[in-house]
Structures are given as C-alpha cells and as structure tokens.
C-alpha cells in the first residue's frame, strides 16, 4: 500500500496543528467544561472565549483556538459562493445543537434549509431577517447580537462606519454571540474593532484564508482549506469543548 507524499505532508501538518492546540489548552490550565461559555462577552476581556471552528488548521492559527464568541468576526471578500459559509457550518451546527438560534440578516442568497439540515443545522433554529435599507440591517444585526437566545448572527454590509462597528462589537459582547460580518475586500485596509478579521479568496479547489487581525494574537497567518475538507468537516466525534485561554497566551 503506498501513500502519496502530499497526503503524508497533510497528515503531518494536521498532527502539528493538533499539538499546538493541545499545548495551548495545557498552558491555559483549563481544558474547559464541555459546552460552557457562560462568561463569554459581558466584559470578560482578560479571558478570550472561543468556539472550535471544526478546521484544525484554522483553530491552530487563531489565538483563542477558534471563533471568538461574544465578539465580532469580519469575513473580507468580494465573491459569494467560494465556501464562506462552509467555513462556519461546523461552529453554527454546534451552536444550534446547544439550543441557540442562527440568524441571517439580509443575506445575498437564500439559506437552503435542507442542505443546512444535512450538516446538522436544525431548521427550527434558523431565522432569516429581510430588510430594505442598510440602516435597518445594522439595527437588526445589533438586536440579534444582543439576544442571548441567539448563537450566531450573520450580517452583510457594504459601507459601515467605525462607530456602528463598535456598537455591533459591544452588542456581541453583551449577548455572548458569534457575530459574523461579511464585508467587501476593500474594507480590509480600514481599521476595525472586530476581534478577528479574515481575508477570503477563492483558490484552486478551495478557500484561501489570511488572518488580517486576531485580537490577542498575531496576524499574517495564511491557510488553504480544500473544498473537500470544507464540505465534510464537522465537530462530530470530537470533544465539543470551548477552549478558554488567557489573552496573549497564543502569541
């Protein structure tokens, strides 16, 4: 039986990423009780709180070890349909199973419930909000972020001023929610109060990621997630733990 060289390299990379995560959890001194994210948001600045993304390589390059809960994450990119939602699905499914709602505010597409159900996002947890003006979208995103019954809020904005971003960041902190804001690639050079900013590009057979900002960690990491791994990754079979690390531990 022969194993191709790229496959071996991929396994080594994954093992290395797992190791990084394990070391980090050990350093933080708390493996975290499963599914606990009580102190996310609400001003818990000294302790970052994250939800594993379901992509080992991505978790390893994020300082908190996953998507920051109770904070705003920006996905910067111009194309729709390059796998930007696939990236989030494992985390969203996790939140939906914990009984929290997933809200789409004025998405450029209609989320397809049967497909999302296939990936573990219970249809009854999904909510779609349509708006007619950008101002209404911002308001709806803020309201949903503030609501502790919601797990994640996905919003789309073309132009947004710094003050509005700050409001959204505060709302996410108050609700302990995962705030995902899709912004055009041109916004990548503007400063932002978001805890995490990822630049997304379509790559050959997959998604290319660049960490533009990660609170409590270093920016600059570049990743390539193949379509095949995007389509199958999930948190099933793994310990569904929320990793707590003190800010800066990963730096």
């Amino acid at each position: 039986m022969t194993v191709s060289a790229p496959a071996i390299a991929a396994s080594i990379a994954e093992l290395r990423a797992r190791l990084t995560l394990l070391e980090r959890a050990g350093n933080a001194g708390s493996s975290g009780a499963p599914g606990r994210r009580r102190d996310c948001g609400a001003g818990g600045n000294d302790e970052a709180c994250a939800l594993p993304s379901g992509h080992i390589a991505l978790d390893a390059s994020l300082p908190a070890g996953g998507w920051p809960l109770g904070a705003l994450t920006e996905l910067l990119g111009d194309a729709t349909g390059i796998g930007e939602l696939q990236l989030l699905i494992p985390a969203l499914a996790q939140l939906a199973h914990a009984g929290r709602g997933i809200v789409w505010v004025a998405p450029p597409y209609l989320p397809y419930a049967p497909a999302l159900a296939q990936r573990g996002l219970l249809p009854e947890r999904l909510l779609i909000i349509r708006t007619t003006r950008p101002q209404e979208s911002l308001w709806a995103i803020e309201q949903a972020l503030r609501c502790p019954a919601m797990g994640a809020v996905l919003g789309w904005t073309a132009h947004i001023v710094d003050r509005s971003l700050r409001r959204l960041q505060l709302a996410a902190e108050a609700g302990g929610t995962l705030g995902i804001l899709h912004r055009p690639a041109a916004a990548a050079d503007e400063p932002s109060p978001a805890a995490l900013r990822l630049r997304l590009r379509a790559a050959a057979d997959g998604l290319a990621l660049e960490v533009r900002k990660a609170r409590g960690g270093r920016a600059g990491a570049r990743l390539h997630l193949p379509r095949s791994s995007l389509a199958r990754s999930s948190l099933e079979g793994r310990d569904a733990v929320v990793v707590h690390t003190s800010a800066g531990a990963g730096a």
Binding site: A79, L85, I89, P111, A113, A117, L127, Q143, C147, M150
Partner: protein, 456 residues
C-alpha cells in the same frame, strides 16, 4: 378592615381624561392590583349630598379607597405599601395625599393632614389609636352639614375629640341621626360599606392632549404613562395580553353644520409573540411601530384598548428566571424585529419531504421554542440520505450557458408529475471561472441549463 384612601386634588387634569369618572375608573383599575375591594367617590361638583354640604372651604376632591386588610399578608406592612403606592402615583404624575385608617371615612379625613407631617400621623392601624389621632384634629374637617358645624363651634367646641366626647343620644336629638351615624362610621364603630368597583372585562384608557400633536414621537411620553396603568390593570386581573390597539384620534377636519362629524382615528395594532404584561416591553414595541408611521393628521387623543386576555402561564417564567429566560428573550427579540420591519420580514424554515429542491423547504413564521417542541418537524433528510445540497439557493432557477467544468454528477431528479409542477432534471456541481461552485441542472424537458444554487 383597613382602608387606604387616596385624595386626588387635580385628577382630571393630570389624567388627561375627558371626565372625572373616566379618570377615576382608570385609576381604580390600576389600584386593583393591590386590593380586591376598591371604591371611589367623585369630587364635589358631582358628589351627592354628603359631600356637597361639607363646611370645607375648597370643593371636595375625588377620593379612591383600597381595602388593605385582606391583602395584608401579600403586601406586608401597610406603611410600606403606602410608600410604594405613593411612589408609583408620583411616577404616573398624579398629585395625591394618602392615609390609612380602620374606616374609609376616617382614612379620607386623615388625607387632609399636611403632607409634611410625619407619615405615622396618616397611618392609623387600630380603632383605639384612631380615636386619639382624631381627637386633636380640627372640628371643621368633619363632613357634617355646615349648620351643624356652626352650631358645634358656637357651643365652644374646636376639635373632633370634643365632639366625640359628647353623649350620642344628645347629639342625635340635636342634630339628627345622620350626624351620629357619620361619627360612628368615622370611629369605625359602625360598618361603613362602600360600593365596590368592578374591573371591566375589556380595557380602554383615553388620554387627551392639551395641544394637538404633529409628531408621532410626541406620543411616547403619554403612552408610557398609559402603559404603566395598563400594566397595573393586567396585574390586577392576573392576566397578560398578546395584542393591544393604540387609537390615535384626529380632530374632525370638516366642521359639519348638521351633525358633529365623528373624529377620524388611526388604529395601530401591536401584537406580541407570547403573552406579556411588561410596560417596558410594550413601550419598546410601540416605539418601533410609532417611529415607522407618518401621522396623516395631528393627534388629539390617544386611546389604549385591549379586549382579549390570556392566562399568564408563560410570562410567569420571569419570576423563576434561569432556564425559562432565553425563551422570553427570543420572543422579545422577535417582537421587536416584527414591530420595526414588519411581520413578514422575519421568517424561519421548515423542511418538507419533496425531491424537488425548491419544494423541499418552506418559509414559516418563526416559532418560539415552546411551540417548536409541540410541533417538531420531521427532518426528511435525516431519514433518507441524499446527495449533498448547496447551502444557498437562488430564488428562481436562472438560465445559463452550458457550464464548461462539471465536477460531480449527474443526479437525476424526476418528480412531481402528479401536481402539475413535474420536473425531469440532471443536477451537477459546476465550477465557474471565478472559483465559485455552482449547483446547476440540465432540464431534460427544454434541454436548457439552469443555475439553482451556490456552495457558499
């Protein structure tokens, strides 16, 4: 029995009501939350003989009574409840004087003690204490006919104590049995029945403005007040509402000569996803609604109306907090979103068992979790494994050129011949030039290619 009396010297003006009776009924409904026996007496203008003939210089103001004896176990010390009721009256904007006594007549009399005196003087709990408290008060406060008071004064009496010391038989002979009965009721020696106010089955409260309002935002302050009173009514009936109406009354445009034209009104219906009785929540929803409407004409009066009420089963949860809390949070969020964006702007999903992709789901009104568990939707996808589906669907399949790069497929879907919307399609996963993965199908009935979904 123990009575709390509220004297309301400026009731009609402060209630912004059309009549004193309307204002009293509104406040009585609010007061019902603390007592199951509430009674009121209109002011001097419309009062019966007993009130009209007092020797007092100023006209008698309207009075409201609450019987506290029966609800003492619930609300604790009468003095504490007195302080609480005073606080709420101040918040609602009513000037008032309150007193507590074992008889309604005495409580009404004690409200005349100046506000700046110690609260203990106006809070009398036993009959013995009442006699000593009354003894020092001036004779002229008694609600006796003016000539009786004059006769007593000329006989050299000055205080109520001196009148009470007189032999009853002599008093009755000299001034008639009514005076004796009055004194007996005052000292709680005789029973003092009052007509009990009955809570109406539907709620209606009207607030008249001094000036016509042209901005909807100007309605918020009076509305806040109406909702506070409404909350009191809901507490009194121990119920909640899922729907209430605000009527904005406009002045009649045309001055009809023959008959007064009925004023036009704008009705704003406010619905909630779960029954509630929190004034703060109502106000939040009403504000969103009022901000979104443009007033067609100036507003002269605001009426709050509610006709159907429900048992407060769900809102009990806010007493226990904890686990039940997110449910309340969710329905409050849904209410806010619907109030501002319209009810059709917020939707949830339901999966259906149909092979045609565009018929395998349905947009539904979002449900709160309680309703979800009751009507849990079976997930057809879980029962029958199917090929991967894209996470985003186009509203309508879009006609495209035949794609150049097909990654997977075909998956044949042939279904629906029975309902007139039959399809025969071969589905493929295609890759567009910009790296976007598409879900396309080749329609075998018209031999054309369509884009239906995106692998977002």
């Amino acid at each position: 029995m123990l009575w709390l009396c509220i004297r309301l010297p400026a009731l009609v003006r402060e209630a912004h009501a059309a009549s004193e009776r309307e204002a009293l009924e509104r406040l009585a409904a609010w007061a019902y939350q603390w007592s199951s026996l509430v009674s009121y007496r209109p002011g001097a203008e419309t009062a019966d003989a007993a009130g009209a003939a007092t020797g007092a210089a100023e006209p008698a103001p309207p009075l409201l009574w609450l019987e506290l004896g029966a609800s003492r176990a619930l609300f604790g010390e009468p003095a504490a409840l007195l302080a609480r009721i005073k606080r709420e009256l101040t918040r609602l904007g009513y000037s008032h004087a309150c007193a507590i006594a074992p008889s309604p007549t005495a409580a009404a009399l004690l409200t005349r003690i100046e506000e700046k005196r110690c609260v203990q003087e106006r809070c009398v709990l036993t009959r013995g204490e009442l006699r000593t408290r009354l003894a020092a008060l001036p004779l002229t406060w008694l609600e006796l006919p003016a000539e009786t008071l004059e006769a007593l004064r000329s006989a050299g009496l000055a205080s109520i104590g001196e009148v009470l010391a007189l032999p009853t038989a002599a008093l009755a002979r000299r001034f008639g049995p009514q005076s004796c009965q009055y004194l007996a009721r005052l000292t709680a020696a005789a029973s003092d029945p009052r007509p009990a106010f009955r809570l109406s089955e539907s709620y209606r409260a009207r607030y008249e403005f001094e000036h016509e309002l042209r901005e909807a935002t100007g309605l918020l302050f009076p509305l806040q007040r109406l909702l506070q009173e409404f909350q009191g009514y809901l507490r009194a009936r121990d119920c909640a509402v899922q729907r209430f109406t605000l009527e904005l009354e406009h002045p009649a445009r045309t001055v009809a000569v023959t008959a007064p034209a009925a004023a036009a009104a704008t009705a704003v219906m406010i619905g909630l996803s779960t029954p509630a009785r929190s004034a703060a929540h109502f106000l939040l929803l009403a504000r969103e609604r009022l901000q979104s409407i443009a007033l067609a004409a100036p507003v002269r009066a605001l009426t709050l109306r509610a006709d159907t009420f429900t048992a407060p089963s769900i809102m009990q949860s806010d007493l226990f907090g904890g686990a039940a809390q997110p449910l309340g949070e969710l329905s409050q969020l849904l209410d806010r979103l619907r109030a501002r964006l319209g009810s059709e702007s917020v939707q949830g999903f339901q999966c259906l068992a149909d092979h045609r992709p565009e018929r395998a789901y349905r947009l539904v009104a979002p449900q709160t979790q309680a309703a979800q568990t009751a009507a849990a939707t079976p997930a057809p996808s879980a029962a029958r494994p199917m090929a991967a589906r894209p996470a985003a669907l186009l509203p309508q399949p879009q006609r495209i050129e035949a794609p150049s790069t097909l990654l997977h497929g075909p998956e044949r879907i042939e279904s629906g011949w029975w309902d007139g919307a039959g399809v025969v399609r071969d589905y493929y996963v295609a890759r567009a030039a910009d790296g976007v993965q598409q879900w396309v199908f080749h329609d075998l009935t018209d031999d054309a290619w369509y884009l239906q979904g995106l692998w977002v």
